[in-house]
Amino acid sequence: MTWDWKVFLNDDGGGRTYLEWMMTAWGWTLAVAIAAWVVAMVVGALMGTLRTLPNSPWLVRLGNVWVELFRNIPLLVQIFLWYFVVPKMFPAMKDVPGFVLVVLALGFFTSARIAEQVRAGVQALPRGQRYAGMALGFTTVQTYRYVILPMAFRIIMPPLTSESMNLLKNSSVAFAVSIAELTMFAMQAQEETSRGVEIYIAVTALYAISAFAVNRLMALVEKRMQIPGLVVVGATGGGH
């Protein structure tokens, strides 16, 4: 078999080279992943917190239902639901762009996993932390804001890192609703050029680079946020 890397300089029929197309696709992958990450973090932190509230059984239930609902349906099916079913059921959603729907799907899917980590992190704290907040006269919100969550998030940095990398990898599923991201590019360019191996190698490398970058970025945040003397016992995240 011979290599033909020049394939990336060929015109794709639309006035741009395959290389340019691939870079644009990489941009879409990163855009989907970053936007979904923000959604997942905000919603995941909220839902995870709800699940640990004392004396609010209905909020705890809401959090639990959220997690079970979004964790037990495959991501691909969830993307189809957001993309096809939601706009049909709620006509007001008809004009929402596909990009936003995919971001919501990926974001909510990941939020269930983040919520699970946040709950674990909060419950890993000694009860004394909560009592300390109460003894200072903090309200529940203040206790969470100033005492519990800052500690919990530091504890769960390792699993949050792997969930963030999972999110980046999972953004590839967006190909199914024709978001012009890397996997979509790989499938189309492979068909058009018949140089599948070269195309796939480049795309795989971009995914690996992106996942590595996420890993380093999260490690940097973890280091910056570290409290001297606090030893975090490594928890590992599963799944993919």
């Binding site: 964790r71 037990n72 096809f84 059921m89 590839s172 599923v173 996997t183 499938m187 590595f212 993919h240």
Partner: protein, 222 residues
Amino acid sequence: MFGLDLTFLSWDILSKFVINGFLFSVQLTVVATLGGIVLGTLLALMRLSGNKLLALPATIYVNGMRSIPLVMVILWFFLLVPTIIGRPIGAELSATITFVAFEAAYFSEIVRAGIQSISRGQVNAGRALGMTYGQNMRLIILPQAFRNMVPVLLTQTIILFQDTSLVYAIGAYDLLKGFTTAGKIYGRPEESYLLAAVVYFVLCYSLSYLVKRLNNRIAIIR
């Protein structure tokens, strides 16, 4: 309701389109779990062997697989396997090979953690009894490690079952494809996506509930 009409569904449609897909999804899950655990255990033993020639390739394989999206792995195998063996293979067979190879990487991490969770004393006790490496692993370490790992292995299997829907990328006929095909033929695509979601949810939720109960029972025994 909400502009949807679920009445099109009948037993006829289910048996015609969905059952076959469901059976393939289950078969893929079972084969990939068993194959993945066997291969994954081998990979884990290679990494823990202390022999660089064995450990390095296993480490590269596991970390490589874990750093690329499953969809890309599915596409890679679908592209490469026919080139390597010199004849075209079906999407279903290609998906099966892919999932065994991919899941082996994830299962090997679980097995590795399981083996490392067994205390050194157990290893030394086996050695003191004059057991060989193989006997020690087979009779002392792996049985204990696997018992500890059962809940994590089952959880991974549920994730694996959900991930089988990604064979959509190469057009293999699985549970999801069964529903989408029925939806297309009867002009009810939205309803069929919704039904697929319900079926996946019921299956995965029940399974994870069972795992949770099993987990509690094992926790008491320990």
